[in-house]
């Protein structure tokens, strides 16, 4: 028996990436390695020094600090460090200091390179950027397409047959005969393959029979011209939302090039599998009073938990939760209008913040406002005050707490005409004060929910045209985005904030989701981009060159990863009968999750640094 030092091999096999190495490779690694001891306070490697080895911490603890002495990471037992000098073939950018008496396993460069060559997993663990690692992690979280089918159902998936169509010159009778033969309740009116209108059973009843029209007349005379359409890649539940909202029952589906693929009806959408958010949306839309809405809203946490269990992505879940919130708010508006009578002037009810971004979670406050037509008089405001109060108290009953900062349409300040809104925005952009900018930033995430959307467009276009030049405003916004420091990582079951600071719970919001959301907002406003959702903003900012493609992709993955963990955490809390929050016990995270969270935090920090270099944050008082 010529035994190997199994203790060392066993130790390595308990930690990534050695865990995945085949035993012969692990043995070869152990044979090439040596062991050193560093007494507390010993500098193991210094900035600017070249090292031909990688270290694995066998026992003790090692602090990694940058050239300015700022703690970057604290190495725990089983972690590797110093490999960047091997990977980058450059002098060390960090100081490595034993902060406890430490045993170090020293892996020489040739052995490191051999392993990288023979084991792709080993190589990518060290050489791929955090981004690539995180991307794989996101993929592993959402293993394949287990479940989540309902959410991912697109309109294209619902199309069962090619479109049934007729030319505009076809007689009404002929078209009706085609509909009867094909058993369809609507027919598409096509000219040279392009959609020009739609005619439904109801149109035949009301526009032909009831109107006494001659069935020999051309179809074009009774069609609904230029109907609402949707792209085949749109999510089914969002399409249903839109149809319910606009009271339409048939929706022509087009491909990316605008070619007609077919038609879906609200019945098709309802036929989606049972126990899914689509049903809930439909029930919400039909609720006759607030009591029914409250009951329906209580099912939302259950749906979130179910979606997490089905491995839906955080982005999809955010959209579903938001859609349900939207549906409740719309219904409350309808109920209020039914009671109060029609509005005296045109209005647009807008949602703000996470709801506007389609990123609502389970712990979201209500954030809304009213944009009123400029014709509004002070007497007419009474109507809107009542409308806002009804919606707000309804939302509160449904589990959406009132906004502590009073960012609600019940606040007269946020219930004003388009012109007044314009001057609000102008004030934030032109004569910014740090506090006002922070409080105002939520209004830059604005989405019309109900009413005359044109009012919001009138407001938004000039605002977006101006944000890119509002240097001081952007600088304040950026400074705040950069000030949300993500934790460094984890150390012995605690969250490592910075030197000397450990916490026993991890705030997934402040240094995670919120930090990325704010970064995305700054980049969007820097370029006057109309996107509101954070992922959409990151994509658009990357396209506009504001974020490098690498960093953009990294940030998108970081947002998805942290958001997913947050939703899962909130889903669990709800199941256990607790109020959902953003604080996770690091002990409940797996080794895998902790490692990738650390990558996500690094990405946030590098995105913050990149932004800090672009905007002159230092010059701010």
């Amino acid at each position: 028996m010529d035994a190997q030092v199994t203790e060392v091999a066993d130790f390595l096999a308990a930690h990534a990436p050695f865990r995945e190495l085949p035993r012969p490779l692990l043995s070869a690694l152990v044979s090439s390695a040596s062991i050193r001891y560093a007494r507390r306070g010993t500098r193991i490697l210094s900035v600017g020094e070249s090292s031909r080895v990688m270290f694995v911490l066998r026992s003790g603890a090692v602090d990694i600090t940058d050239s300015e002495g700022v703690l970057v990471e604290r190495s725990d037992v089983g972690t590797s460090f110093g490999m960047s000098t091997l990977v980058e073939r450059a002098p060390s950018r960090y100081d490595f200091t034993a902060i406890e008496d430490s045993l170090l396993l020293v892996v020489p460069e040739p052995s490191f390179r051999d392993l990288c060559q023979s084991d792709p997993g080993f190589e990518s663990f060290y050489t791929s950027a955090h981004a690539a690692r995180l991307r794989r992690a996101v993929g592993q979280l959402h293993l394949a397409d287990r479940g989540g089918a309902v959410l991912r159902t697109t309109l294209g998936d619902l199309l069962r047959r090619p479109p049934v169509g007729a030319a505009p010159t076809t007689s009404i009778r002929e078209a009706a005969q085609v509909m009867a033969r094909e058993h369809v309740s609507a027919i598409l009116v096509l000219e040279d393959g392009h959609l020009v209108g739609v005619v439904t059973d109801r149109d035949l009843r009301s526009r032909v029979l009831a109107a006494g029209r001659d069935p020999a007349e051309p179809l074009a005379t009774v069609m609904t011209p230029d109907p609402e359409t949707a792209r085949s890649d749109a999510l089914a539940f969002e399409a249903l939302m839109a149809m319910v909202d606009r009271n339409i029952h048939h929706l022509p589906v087009l491909d990316v090039a605008g070619q007609v693929l077919g038609l879906v009806s609200s019945t098709d959408l309802m036929r989606l599998e049972h126990n899914n958010p689509v049903y809930l949306v439909a029930d919400i839309a039909g609720a006759q009073d607030v009591g029914v809405l409250v009951e329906l809203a209580s099912r939302i946490p259950v749906i979130v938990e179910q979606l997490v269990a089905e491995d839906a992505s955080a982005r999809d879940i955010g959209r579903v939760v938001t859609s349900l919130g939207d549906a409740i708010e719309r219904r409350l508006l309808t109920l209020a209008e039914t009671e109060l009578g029609p509005p005296p002037v045109a209005y647009c009810w807008v949602v703000l913040g996470s709801q506007a971004r389609h990123e609502q979670g389970l712990a979201s406050d209500q954030d809304n406002a009213l944009v009123l037509s400029d014709e509004v008089t002070s007497e007419q405001d009474h109507y809107f005050a009542q409308l806002a109060e009804r919606v707000s108290s309804g939302l509160e009953a449904c589990g959406y707490p009132r906004c502590p900062g009073e960012v609600m349409a019940t606040n007269p300040r946020w219930r004003v005409s388009v012109s007044t809104w314009r001057s609000h925005f102008a004030h934030w952009l032109e004569t910014p004060e740090p506090e006002a900018v922070l409080n105002g930033s939520i209004f830059f995430d604005m989405r019309p929910l109900r009413g005359d959307h044109r009012l919001v467009e009138e407001l938004r276009a000039p605002v977006l045209a101006a944000t890119g030049q509002a240097d001081l405003f952007l600088a304040y916004l950026a400074r705040h985005a950069v000030s949300r420091r993500p934790p460094l990582g984890f150390f012995r079951g605690l969250v490592l904030e910075k030197e000397g600071e450990h916490r026993d719970s991890l705030d997934l919001k402040s240094g995670g989701v919120a930090a990325i959301v704010e970064l995305a907002r700054v980049h969007a406003l820097l370029h006057g981009l109309p996107e509101v959702g954070s992922q959409a903003r990151i994509a658009a900012a990357t396209h506009a060159g504001s974020l490098s493609p690498g960093l953009g992709a990294e940030l998108a993955d970081a947002l998805e990863f942290v958001s997913y963990l947050r939703l899962r955490h909130q889903g669990r809390q709800v199941r256990m009968g607790q109020e959902p929050d953003n604080f996770v016990d690091p002990g409940q995270l797996t080794d895998f999750e902790r490692r990738h969270l650390r990558d996500a935090f690094r990405i946030v920090r590098s995105a913050q640094q990149a932004l800090g270099q672009r905007l002159p944050l230092d010059t701010l008082s």
Binding site: M1, D2, A3, Q4, V5, T6, E7, V8, F11, V30, S31, S32, A33, S34, I35, R36, Y37, A38, R39, R58, S59, G60, V77, E100, D101, L103, V106
Partner: protein, 205 residues
């Protein structure tokens, strides 16, 4: 033939010292009656343990007594011992490995005693070994900063000594693991005793 005293320069600094940590598992403590069951060796170059040079050998007992009661301590059964090499095969390997190196052991009298007996038994000249004992070093580590110089025996065991210096606990206790444990202990002891300066071989003895 007398053993070459390669590392016997007692002013040599520890950073340049070549050592071989050796641990023997035996059937008992008396070299005249008991037998060697396994040998573990781990080379130390200066202040670095070279894992590639680590070797462990099971040794087949020559006498009729077999492993006996000692199996309870080291877990070596008669079956494993029967498949092992004879001491006459292993001894030259150990002696060759020790050439030019200081013998490092925890409670080295056991190792030197059994090696001595083995050499006599096989008609090999006993090497003139230079020895560093981690028990002695541990006594010094423990005495520092203590007003009373008493050190209890139970503080000097390998596991207790390692625990005192914050070294990880090992699950298995075969000769090879113990040799490695001894080598790591040595590194920690040197670091603890040297302070900022560098020690010489003389200061280790």
């Amino acid at each position: 033939m007398r053993w070459r005293r390669g590392s016997a320069d007692r002013d040599r600094p520890v950073t340049e010292l070549d050592l071989l940590a050796v641990d023997l598992e035996t059937t008992g403590l008396d070299p005249s009656r008991h037998e060697v069951l396994s040998v573990g060796m781990v080379p130390v170059h200066g202040l670095s343990i070279a894992l590639g040079g680590a070797r462990g050998y099971a040794v087949r007992p020559a006498g009729p007594g077999g492993v006996g009661e000692s199996a309870a301590v080291h877990g070596i059964t008669d079956d494993t011992a029967a498949g092992a090499r004879s001491l006459s095969e292993v001894l030259p390997v150990v002696l060759a490995a020790l050439e030019g190196r200081v013998l490092l052991a925890h409670h080295a009298r056991i190792e030197t005693g059994f090696l001595d007996a083995a050499c006599r038994g096989h008609g090999v000249a006993l090497p003139d070994l230079v020895v560093v004992d981690t028990v002695r070093l541990q006594r010094r580590v423990l005495r520092r900063g203590r007003s009373h110089a008493q050190v209890a025996d139970q503080e000097l065991g390998l596991a207790a000594a390692r625990r005192h210096l914050g070294l990880p606990r090992y699950r298995s206790h075969d000769a090879l693991t113990d040799a490695l444990a001894c080598a790591e202990l040595y590194l920690a002891q040197v670091a603890a005793l040297a302070g900022d300066g560098t020690m010489t071989l003389r200061q280790l003895q």
